[in-house]
């Protein structure tokens, strides 16, 4: 019986940023042994200290210059003993580094090779540089978040990168399943562009007579009962969508009279008079503290939530109880707290191995495993092939 789902699965990550980094970390979470290969300058996002941890936990780090022949040899020796290669390199780079599918699968026919470029394998845009917000902009996410007639809004969450990372991990898992049955590896690919649509799957559907999307009422919500409200001390979210919750909500807020108010007697009426209702509720919520309202609403079974910053959640009992907070020691930052096990498998639970590696932190260790002698390693360092 395997202890973790991906025990003994060896993964090479090439490319970094968010999509490649997080995809490989998700595989590491389920037990894969991941080696992050970086250039001697390091992943471009190393400067974002905390975030870099959130995208790269659970790996070992190898810094190697893949523009050199010796560097390519290291990569190819590593490929021989690996199962998966994940890459999100800019178009043309993998060929230059001897890391394209043809070369890699020639060295290791059973390899599972996952590519996640910005725009696709081929097509009119593949030469363009890609960053998450460019796909947010093109795909309509920014315009829709802003709302008609208002400036577009930049999602602070790199939605295309995150979706791409998870879809990539799903793709690799499917290919591993196939390999377990047939012994065959294969090439699989997605793209930030595909992810941009997948992370708006319910929005990317059109047909004649489709009802208009609910326009966002303002920066705080869709309508009066699905909206953020400011209380005396903080904010809360009211998430009342079920018709049966409406009278319950009115009573919980001490506004029984709204139940019989003809302006709000049906969902259509409440939508129509949303501004008026919002104003009433704003006044009510502003009259007391968040905790007071949350207790009342929760007591009555009305969906609602405290509005937390990600930074406020590390001691939240719900997260702690569900293994959603993890702690590691990082060589760069000391003790790091971050997300725990986001996918829980009961029999093969996975493993939070370690914090993100420092640049080249495991170079020596990995090269010795590839049977390079200490002298050879020193020589490679001296020639700036590795760091």
């Amino acid at each position: 019986m395997t202890e973790h789902a991906f025990d003994n699965i060896k993964v090479i990550e090439l490319g970094g940023y968010i999509v490649g980094g997080l995809c490989a970390s998700l595989l590491a979470d389920l037990g894969a042994e991941v080696i992050k290969i970086e250039s001697l300058q390091g992943d471009n996002l190393r400067g974002l200290l905390g975030s870099f941890q959130g995208w790269n936990r659970g790996k070992r780090g190898l810094a190697v210059n893949l523009n050199t022949e010796e560097g390519k040899t290291i990569l190819h020796r590593l490929v021989k003993q690996s199962d998966v290669l994940v890459q999100n390199l800019r178009h043309g780079v993998s060929e230059r580094w001897g890391a394209d599918y043809a070369t890699i699968s020639n060295i290791k026919p059973q390899i599972i090779y996952c590519s996640m470029p910005g725009y696709g394998q081929n097509g009119p845009y593949i030469e363009k540089p890609a960053f998450d917000p460019l796909l947010q902009a093109r795909s309509g996410a920014m315009a829709a978040q802003g709302g008609p007639g208002r400036p577009p809004v930049y999602y602070r969450i790199a939605i295309c990168d995150y979706a791409g990372a998870m879809l990539g991990a799903h793709g690799v898992a499917m290919a591993l399943y196939h390999r377990a049955r047939t012994g065959k590896g294969q090439h699989l690919h997605s793209a930030l562009l595909n992810a941009a649509i997948a992370v708006q799957s319910g929005e990317f559907v059109s047909y004649a007579g489709k009802p208009e999307d609910d326009p966002r009422m303002d920066e705080w919500g869709i309508n009066a009962t699905y909206r953020l409200y400011k209380t005396l001390d903080d904010w809360l979210f009211l998430g009342c969508t079920e018709e049966s919750s409406w009278p319950v909500l009115c009573r919980a807020l001490g506004k029984e009279e709204l139940v019989s108010d003809p302006s709000f007697e049906s969902p259509a009426k409440r939508q129509q008079n949303s501004a008026k209702l919002t104003q009433i509720l704003e006044t009510v919520f502003a009259g007391s503290f968040s905790q007071h309202w949350l207790d009342r609403l929760e007591g009555a079974g009305v969906p609602c939530a405290a509005v937390h910053h990600p930074q406020d959640l590390f001691n939240h009992p719900q997260l702690v109880e569900n293994d959603l907070v993890a702690e590691h020691n990082s060589t760069d930052l000391g003790v790091v707290k971050q997300m725990g096990m986001v996918v829980k498998l009961s029999e093969t639970p996975g493993k939070l191995w370690r914090a993100a590696p420092g640049l080249g932190q495991h170079t020596d260790e990995i090269l010795s495993e590839l049977d390079y002698s200490n002298e050879q390693i020193q020589e490679l360092r001296r020639k700036r092939v590795v760091a």
């Binding site: 019986m1 960053f131 699989l188 562009l193 992370v199 990317f204 953020l228 979210f237 498998l345 029999e347």
Partner: protein, 388 residues
């Protein structure tokens, strides 16, 4: 060349967005999916998205509370490889549909729970939806930024994150089953989906000082990496490293900006908020002078990352989207011709294939029951007794 998950049977009892979407991702890749609904139907059936999240499935509508339904469900579970459900822990027990029980019926079963907040802990029975999970898990406050009011996020990101994680977890469990012969329970939640969608923001160390904002950051806060309004329309400028930033200064004929000590370490490292605003307003003044297409052409020629802000309808016509087959046409018996997302991940040797439109409520009840070995007489009895 058969789809990678062909031959597997999935029973989808989940409602909402995350569970059905996860089931759809697996269905596109070859799994046969039976969507089990209450007789009133999945609560999200009224959303246009449900046409996407349920495509290619067959629908079996049952009175979930009725005693006789147990037997039907258990027969289904016996031949299933995967079950997805989104009941609260108490409700799953009440329906006698919890993992402990089902795993005894089928030891190879992979049982996936897509809950709101997780199976244990003080919030495990809390009612809610995507907005509630997103607010609680930091997405709305994070969008506002530290020091600013929260902002409502229109995309149901917690649900989408949970859907991807569920598809991933189930597939990992299928891989394990090939080796161990045993199924297991897979747990994800909207809460874990929300965290996975912001793993880079959900990090703390004493050595990191979070950035507080004194003004709204909804169009971005890094001058060379943000939205700008041109004479007519908006663009996103994404000079994500110093090379791109330097190119930008040259193309704009403003090498002085690259040399200005206030803007040293642009794009990411301008520490003073005041200097970030100064540079933002300089760039805004320049970009306002000319229409969008002028800038796009200029920047693209110089390999400076940028993109137009377009609407979803426009993106559906985008040549690269077409090239990737990311928008497909599916005929739906009710909605007519629909256009919706394609398959986001391609396994070159075992690609997926969309099986068809979303089912009507209970469209396949009789077929599915017949396949489970029920006689026509028994099926009409079920129908008379309000079971199906």
């Amino acid at each position: 060349m058969e789809p990678v998950l062909e031959g597997l049977v999935l029973v989808d009892l989940s409602t909402g967005i995350a569970g059905p979407y996860a089931a759809m991702l697996l269905t596109d890749m070859g799994t046969e999916c039976i969507k089990v609904e209450s007789r009133e139907g999945d609560q999200k059936r009224n959303l246009p998205g449900s046409l996407v999240w349920n495509r290619g499935k067959r629908s079996l509508a049952l009175n979930l509370e009725a005693e006789e339904t147990r037997e039907i469900l258990y027969r289904l579970v016996e031949k299933a490889d995967v079950v997805i459900q989104s009941f609260s822990p108490q409700h799953a027990k009440f329906l006698r549909f919890d993992y402990e029980l089902l795993s005894r019926l089928n030891s190879r079963l992979i049982y996936c729970v897509v809950s709101l907040f997780g199976e244990s802990g003080p919030l495990s029975e809390k009612p809610g939806n995507d907005g509630v999970a997103s607010a609680l898990a930091g997405i709305m406050a994070g969008q506002g930024g530290l020091g600013q009011p929260p902002v409502f996020v229109t995309l149901p990101l917690a649900s989408y994150g949970a859907a991807f994680l569920a598809a991933y977890g189930i597939t990992a469990a299928l891989y394990v089953r090939e080796k161990s012969g045993k199924g297991q329970k897979v747990e994800v939640s909207l809460l874990s989906g929300a965290l996975a969608m912001q793993s880079g923001l959900f990090v703390s160390a004493e050595t990191i000082i979070p950035m507080v904002n004194s003004r709204s950051i909804q169009q971005g806060y890094i001058p060379a990496y943000r939205l700008y309004e041109c004479q007519d329309e908006w663009i996103f400028l994404a000079c994500g490293n110093q090379t791109f930033w330097n190119k930008l200064c040259i193309v704009l004929g403003r090498e002085d900006l690259a040399a200005d000590p206030r803007f040293e370490n642009s794009p990411w490292g301008i520490v003073e908020e005041e200097h970030r605003y100064a540079l933002t307003s300089i760039l805004a003044d320049i970009l306002r002078q000319k229409p969008r297409d002028y800038w796009l052409k200029l920047f693209e020629t110089a390999d400076i990352p940028c993109a137009p802000v377009s609407r979803r309808e426009e993106f559906m016509e985008d040549p690269q989207v077409r090239h990737n087959q990311m928008i497909v046409e599916i005929d739906d018996p009710r909605a007519g011709k629909t256009r919706q997302m394609g398959i986001p991940v391609t396994l070159v040797d075992n690609p997926g294939q969309i099986k068809g439109s979303a089912p009507r409520l209970g469209e396949h009840s009789q077929d599915v029951l017949r396949e489970l070995g029920y006689s026509d007489k028994k099926i009409s009895q079920f129908s008379e007794n309000g079971i199906i």
